[in-house]
């Protein structure tokens, strides 16, 4: 037996050596797509012949799923020569598989690529997404959407700057992180929905004093703390400063208002305003706990609205986070849902562009409202019926009007969730002071800026 083992080992080593010699360097396979823009744009989908359009999306939750199924059905009805092959995955699964799919030989035609330096900017830099400018000239997306929203989906060709350069995607829904509150509990506590941060602090203290959990919060994944921090940051710092910071064009995470926001988060945690052992509670469990009655307030995205509306009916309310002073406009994180982009290897970019135009058309905004979602642009003929969805839509309109939407913080660097989210967990556990946490964020940030 020993000779066999040895011979086998020798053969394996030889095989490995040959394989290594034959393999070429990663990423240099020679078939790298050029970020070509099509010379002539055709909007005539019917003339394109029989086309199968492969679309990868992350619209798996209730209302979102209904919305995209309906839109796909209508598009196929409008253009019988086009068949849509839909592949849907959860948000995090899509993030992970998209990278592999895009670098492969035959990627899907249309994908939902997330905004930020970790996703869209990297794809653009590698030439995997098609710049949409020539289609924009025909369909007029930049005219249809406010600049703040198209900026989120724009990147320079080298992937170094978000907010300028070409347009690489169009989004269907809007989203903001706001403040949900349990109306029943507020009434019992004798508290009004807060109009300023000072009033909010007062409300939290009252809730704590009466034995309630003031804020439902689950932070096992690190990302939730970044959203909560972002809201506090929007309350403490100037919104323009926050935007510049996230997109890497100025400022530092150790600037005084940013440290103040972290200090506030630490204070809240120390005063016991959060769900007990928040670091051990899953993010997805937060709305579940809140709906069960654990928590007077909860910070969360509008993507939870349709689910909470089903569970809590008229017991739940939604508002934008309170402004620093009563009466002044508030600011919060948000923007738009994942942008629909065309891959540069797509064989039918014209049809793909027509599809994207269709699912972001005024008609699509109506479908969005009908299925309980928040459309990025005002729906021409539909209004949400449920009170909660109405409140969501009002908050969105108000924030859009006042230009009060700031980008998500995890756009800042590809490693930010770990590099900032981890220290934030320590802040919440009372193991690290605010200034050290912000320094950790700045270290990761400046390292990425240097590399960029």
């Amino acid at each position: 037996m020993p000779t066999l083992t040895r011979r086998g080992a020798a053969a394996a080593v030889a095989a490995l050596a040959t394989m290594l010699a034959a393999a070429c360097a990663p990423g240099s396979s020679g078939d790298e797509p050029e970020s070509k823009a099509p010379a002539a744009v055709s909007t005539d989908v019917a003339k394109a012949g029989n086309v199968t359009l492969t679309v990868w999306d992350q619209e798996v939750q209730g209302g979102q799923k209904k919305q995209i199924e309906e839109l796909n059905k209508r598009f196929e009805a409008k253009y019988p020569n086009v068949k849509i092959k839909r592949v849907s995955r959860s948000f995090s699964d899509l993030q992970k598989t998209l990278r592999l799919a895009l670098s492969g030989g035959s990627p899907p035609d249309v994908v939902e690529a997330n905004q930020g330096y970790a996703s869209m900017a990297q794809y653009v830099k590698a030439g995997m997404l098609l710049p949409l400018d020539s289609y924009d000239q025909v369909y007029g997306w930049r005219k249809r959407y406010p600049k703040g929203l198209t900026d989120l989906n724009s990147v320079t060709k080298d992937g170094k700057l978000i907010g300028s350069g070409s347009l690489y995607g169009v989004s269907l829904n809007g989203e903001i992180v706001g403040l949900y509150y349990n109306k029943e509990k507020l009434a019992k506590l004798g508290v009004q929905p807060p109009k300023s941060w000072a009033e909010f602090d007062q409300a939290l203290a009252t809730a704590k004093g009466k034995g309630e959990v003031p804020i439902a919060f689950g932070n096992l994944e690190k990302l939730p703390a970044m959203q909560l921090y972002g809201i506090l940051q929007d309350g403490a710092a100037d919104k323009e400063a926050v935007r510049k910071l996230v997109f890497g064009s100025g400022g530092s995470w150790t600037d005084a208002p940013n440290v103040q926001a972290a200090q506030k988060l630490a204070d809240w945690s120390k005063k016991g305003y959060f769900t007990k052992d928040a670091n051990a509670v899953k993010w997805d469990d937060t709305p579940v706990n809140f709906a069960k009655g654990d928590g007077v307030f909860m910070f969360g995205g509008t993507w939870w609205a349709s689910e909470l509306n089903d569970k809590m009916k008229e017991k739940v309310g939604f508002m934008a986070p309170p402004p620093a002073q009563a009466g002044s406009p508030s600011a919060t994180m948000g923007g738009e849902s994942l942008p629909w982009s065309i891959t540069s290897k797509s064989k039918n970019p014209d049809v793909a562009a027509a599809y994207i135009n269709f699912i972001t058309s005024p008609e699509a905004m109506d479908v969005s409202v009908e299925t309980g979602n928040l459309p990025a642009l005002a729906a021409p003929s539909k209004q949400p019926a449920e009170p909660l969805l109405k409140e969501v839509s009002t908050a969105w309109a108000e924030l859009s009007k006042n230009d009060g939407i700031t980008p998500y913080l995890d756009y800042a660097t590809p490693t930010f969730t770990d590099a900032f989210g981890g220290p934030l967990q320590e802040l919440i556990a009372g193991r690290k002071p605010a200034d050290e946490v912000m320094k950790a964020a700045q270290d990761d940030y400046s390292a990425f800026q240097k590399k960029k």
């Binding site: 240099s28 967990q425 193991r431």
Partner: protein, 323 residues
């Protein structure tokens, strides 16, 4: 094959008179009986191809990627061994390897010790419903790790059974030990480890029970006649008789600890902070989340080497040089 051919004497004789060319394939069978000839490789070829395509090839590519800086999308740049040095110089990665050491204790050493105690008890006295206990203890092995993680998340949660019991103890006058276990910086890693122990016990125990049945009864009788108590008997008879099983159990459970990804991924995602980061999780995290494919591969290769070293080391240590 050779022996069968030789036994059929008439056929051999006929072959002897056949032309030389016909005898040529026979040469492949020359050499000592039972030793496979070159033709043997042909039989292993299909398996070898599959093995090569799905194991050796990815391993080789992984090793190659580890020498580049690559975000998984664009052009890669040559990195030399800097990914490997980063594996050791990055404090969070070094920490991950430290956590691995702790987990090996929980995944490997502890289950083997506990299994020994259980087997010692089971082999000395007749227990009613032994099969039942054996099945129950082995059950965690059968359940998918992902399901295990979800179940334990509930067990450890703020109002889960662990905290309920601790609440009772607190009511009896003991200090309050209740906490969100997976979210606690001090206790998250041991909490993950305890799950590993729970999973590992069954495997170790089943291996040891099978081994104990091989030990001749006479040895136990002799030991008892010589007046050995349960402890002496264990160290004089059971433990030496179980050396091979111990080696297998240690190897399997240690490798389980080294490639412990699913539990961490589902239960804690490396958190809180970096408290439960392990290398296997970082392989995934760096490769797919943060776009550091080269570094992820370097960690993966380091882990593979570590697994080989552990396997070889354990065999040496437990089975002796003859193994």
């Amino acid at each position: 094959m050779t022996t069968v051919a030789r036994r059929k004497t008439p056929k051999t004789r006929r072959e002897a008179s056949a032309p030389r060319a016909a005898r040529r394939p026979g040469r492949a069978f020359s050499g000592s009986p039972g030793e496979p000839g070159r033709i043997g490789w042909l039989y292993t070829l299909p398996a070898l191809l599959v093995y090569g395509a799905f194991l050796l090839w990815p391993l080789a590519r992984g090793a190659q990627f580890s020498l580049y800086h690559w975000d998984g999308l664009g052009e890669a740049t040559w990195a030399g061994f800097s990914n490997y040095t980063a594996t050791w110089s990055d404090p969070s990665l070094r920490g991950a390897f430290g956590h691995l050491l702790v987990l090996v204790l929980f995944y490997s050493v502890l289950p083997c010790c506990i299994a020994f105690v259980l087997v010692g008890a089971m082999s000395r006295t007749k227990i009613r419903g032994l099969t039942f206990f054996r099945t129950v203890l082995f059950l965690p092995q059968v359940v998918a790790m992902v399901a295990v993680a979800v179940a334990w998340q509930w067990v450890y949660s703020a109002d889960g059974p662990v905290n309920t019991v601790l609440g009772w103890l607190h009511a009896l006058g003991l200090p309050d030990w209740r906490r969100g276990w997976f979210g606690d910086f001090t206790f998250a890693l041991p909490a993950v480890g305890a799950v590993g122990t729970w999973v590992g016990i069954g495997l170790a125990m089943v291996l040891f029970l099978a081994g104990v049945q091989k030990i001749p009864r006479e040895l136990y009788e002799a030991a008892r006649i010589d007046g050995a108590g349960p402890v002496r008997e264990f160290f004089a008879v059971t433990l030496p008789g179980l050396r091979r099983e111990l080696a297998v159990a240690l190897t399997l459970t240690t490798i389980m600890a080294i490639r412990n990804f699913d539990l961490i991924y589902m239960a804690t995602a490396g958190g809180p902070g970096n408290a439960t980061k392990v290398p296997a999780y970082e392989v995934y995290n760096r490769t797919f989340n943060t776009g550091e494919v080269g570094l992820g591969c370097a960690i993966g290769v380091t882990l593979a080497v570590l697994a080989f070293a552990v396997t070889a080391g354990v065999r040496r240590l437990v089975e002796g040089k003859d193994a």
